[in-house]
Symmetry: C2
Subunit: 386 residues, 2 copies
Amino acid sequence: MKLAAGSVGTVETRILDLPGPVPLDCGRALSPVRVAYETYGTLSPARDNAILVCHALSGDAHAAGTSATPTGTRDGFAARGGRNLGWWDGMIGPGKAFDTDHFFVVAANVLGGCGGTTGPSAPDPATGRPYGPDFPVVTVADMVRTERALLTALGVDRLAAVAGGSLGGMRALEWAILYPDKVDAVVAIASTHALSPQGVAWNAIAREAILRDPDWQDGRYYGTGRSPDSGMGLARMVGHITYLSAAALDGKFGRRLQFSDDIRHTLTEPEFQVENYLRHQADGFVRRFDANTYLLLSRALTYFDLARQHGGSLERAFADVTARTLLISFDSDWLYPPSGSHAIERALRALGKPVEAHVLDAPYGHDSFLLEEARQIPIVRRFLSL
Amino acid sequence: MKLAAGSVGTVETRILDLPGPVPLDCGRALSPVRVAYETYGTLSPARDNAILVCHALSGDAHAAGTSATPTGTRDGFAARGGRNLGWWDGMIGPGKAFDTDHFFVVAANVLGGCGGTTGPSAPDPATGRPYGPDFPVVTVADMVRTERALLTALGVDRLAAVAGGSLGGMRALEWAILYPDKVDAVVAIASTHALSPQGVAWNAIAREAILRDPDWQDGRYYGTGRSPDSGMGLARMVGHITYLSAAALDGKFGRRLQFSDDIRHTLTEPEFQVENYLRHQADGFVRRFDANTYLLLSRALTYFDLARQHGGSLERAFADVTARTLLISFDSDWLYPPSGSHAIERALRALGKPVEAHVLDAPYGHDSFLLEEARQIPIVRRFLSL
């Protein structure tokens, strides 16, 4: 799927300490807050070519290029399972969708994250110990406020675009609503104005798996030598199946057995290839991700509901938006189905706002936003007038 | 959905000790085996009007009528959460689909079950203690062999029909293959010849949730005062969402909050109504079901693969079948989608076997086989020539 386009090369994740507290929807204010971020390309003298790229639940600030910090030793990061390429490397770089020959691309780890930005594993100034369950339950809007503070500190007052998939797309939409005069364009991919009840249920099950793991210890597992790897592994398994389409699983694994042509009559060992794949995915994820961050981000994306946040009306939510909006969804995505994008499109059109929507017939389900780069790149480039 | 038809009245679950061992696919033979069963209607003098009704993963022998044994005190049963009506009461009774004015209906708890039939919670004759993980990993065919032994002991040599939904439909199909000269008709509802890879994955996650619960104790939790309720609750949550369609969840709960119009910023408490529903479903289930039985039945239904069991060919699997087959599936059932029934229908047609297939556009997903009685009853009655 990779186009013959350049890489941003070797990149370093940097840390910025925000100058002031971040006000939160829950009423608290968080301070100090540090943000892990990377940048690709060059900020123009007029400072008008910045694009913020927003990661999804399991992502981080390392969106493109090859990390300068070797796997497993990067400050503030857990091991990355040997993958040092950015999570959206196919979309960000010279000649790519977010073209670093033209744009200054910023990617930041989200508030509440575990990739260098202040989150539940960071020290609580009140105690000197990690926040754990005392970290505030942040919202998508709180994450956006943090991103805005980062950009201000970087000298960027206005975004040429804000883009992301899934939870990242939610932040892109929230940006255009919270800061209508600071965003020229929104690119929301495989995203929605509000997760479906089934999506809410899957996320609830994933969080329950962590909460029910005795090693979670009410969220105070840091430094105990035990962490809820078992529950977070289960959460990741649930996530993984919801990110893929049934047809993709069929094509990738079918009902192939793991070791032989016949069953071995075992309850405890993986027998089908898809069972083994799930265990591997879970094991790799728990090594690089923090369970309390998982709980927070999962909760934030289920809370996100633009209509509820604006008196029950999606049109009211978008009333002040000035940005042009590009929506891309995938017909095999049953976690963030195209209906979510359709509802956003209808509301924006009813308001006379510029919006462009595409439904791609990619086969991979929700993960298509990470995998179907070749189809997305020309759409995004044209939208950004490249 | 209930038709104005009669009830079979108050019924009692009986226990029958099989006269001999049950040979198993794994090579072992199980003995002693007792089977919990109920019967409705009267066996004809010619003994030619018997219908075996096969329950799904969470069912038991109490398929119709009202249980004579009060909730929570029935011998060998866990509490039933106040529900004393049989799991398929809408389908079994005078004037219903399986019409007890004409047929002698038998329902039995499955081999490996926890509803009175020998399973992992039964005493292992070798030790006097519950089998736990030493119970053999049984297959759908093993379950059918046990059902055949029960019927023989009841004086029934030949079935007018064998019927079931989901795992019960798998048994119905297996009956016609294992005992081709003993089955006149098969009714397989919301079932398949082999679970999809996504279905395999969901079941693997459900089993992992139990296996990862420390209270599972390698399956030897009986008598310890601890049982893997937490893991089995998670398993049930996963199951529940896969049994329902996304549209059904949308209609039933939407994104309605539990207590107020606004979010409370909580990670640990149910916030959406669908989250609360999941917890309640899980809590009710763990009170009445055994975790080792869950593992066994889930494994059996993922192993079930009629083509693999017959040299890779579904046609070869059905080659000796003499029964007429009725297949009912539901378009909103994404766990056992109509494609499974279509594949069975094609194989039977290719062999020139009599088969009738219906896809109903019921909205409830997989659970439609339990909920959409009014639409199924006339189809089944006509098929059974009533």
